[in-house]
């Protein structure tokens, strides 16, 4: 009888381990890959870089385009917020679009404040903003399918 009890206890060990694992399994660590969102980002990057180049001209004629871009940045941020376990992407959108920051949001704000920017500044900023978008795109692309 003792022998049987011992064997039963041994056989029950995996059940207990699995139960413990299931209890501690707290869902996904990171949001799932979203092909629509990725396409949105790739498209936004192309539009953003075209807009950045236009900062060689006065801001006023491009005000609408800039405001549309800011709305799209907000759209991207809100899309990221709606997903579970997406805090890293949310933070990336915050940094990219922050008007007091030094990436796209900050660049558009600077253009608005100063009225017009010069070629050297635009060229350097464009490279950095493109790299910023690439970072967001790489993270989205690397998420589990």
């Amino acid at each position: 009888m003792k022998h049987i009890k011992f064997r039963l206890a041994i056989a029950a060990v995996p059940v207990l381990v699995a139960a413990a694992v299931m209890v501690f399994q707290c869902g996904p660590y990171i949001a799932r890959f979203d092909v629509g969102f990725l396409e949105f980002m790739v498209n936004l990057k192309a539009r953003a870089l075209t807009l950045v180049e236009k900062a060689i001209e006065p801001y006023e004629p491009h005000r609408e385009e800039c405001e549309e871009m800011i709305k799209d940045l907000d759209r991207g941020f809100r899309n990221a917020v709606q997903k579970t376990a997406n805090h890293l992407t949310i933070k990336q959108w915050e940094i990219l679009s922050n008007p007091r920051g030094y990436l796209l949001g900050g660049f558009l704000e600077k253009w608005k404040q100063e009225g017009q920017l010069h070629a050297v500044f635009i060229g350097e900023s464009k490279t950095i903003i493109a790299a910023a978008f690439d970072s967001l795109i790489r993270l989205e692309n690397g998420k589990p399918r």
């Binding site: 059940v15 933070k91 790299a131």
Partner: protein
């Protein structure tokens, strides 16, 4: 004094002023971070210093480039963290799958033994 030397002197004096106000332990951390930053962004920094010294960009713009580079590094850090989480999740899922298989195997064995016992 030439234009280039004057700009370089100004820049060094300004950096010196910022560093002067820091406590020693923070200063060490700043110097370590700064060295790492310089090594990783050598090419960009050389170009930006050249542009600043040639009068193509202002001091404000030079600082802007440094800050945007910092923002970019933050984005890349988040990206690397995210990609590490993806790997971690894959590993976790593999472990869970293995455990589930072990549990099913264990349950099967348990049932088999119980049936055997009942028959006796």
């Amino acid at each position: 004094m030439g234009f280039v030397e004057e700009k370089a002197k100004q820049l060094i004096a300004e950096v010196g002023q910022v560093l002067k106000g820091l406590p020693t332990e923070q200063l060490d951390a700043v110097i370590t971070d700064f060295k790492k930053f310089l090594e990783e962004n050598k090419e960009d920094l050389n170009r930006w210093v050249g542009q600043y010294m040639a009068g193509e960009t202002s001091k404000k713009e030079f600082i802007w480039f440094l800050r945007s580079k910092k923002n970019l590094l933050e984005l890349k850090t988040l990206e690397h963290l995210g990609l590490s989480l993806v790997k971690l999740e894959k590993t976790r899922d593999k472990v869970i799958k293995t455990l589930k298989n072990a549990v099913l195997g264990g349950l099967g064995e348990l049932l088999r033994r119980l049936v055997k016992l009942k028959r006796r």
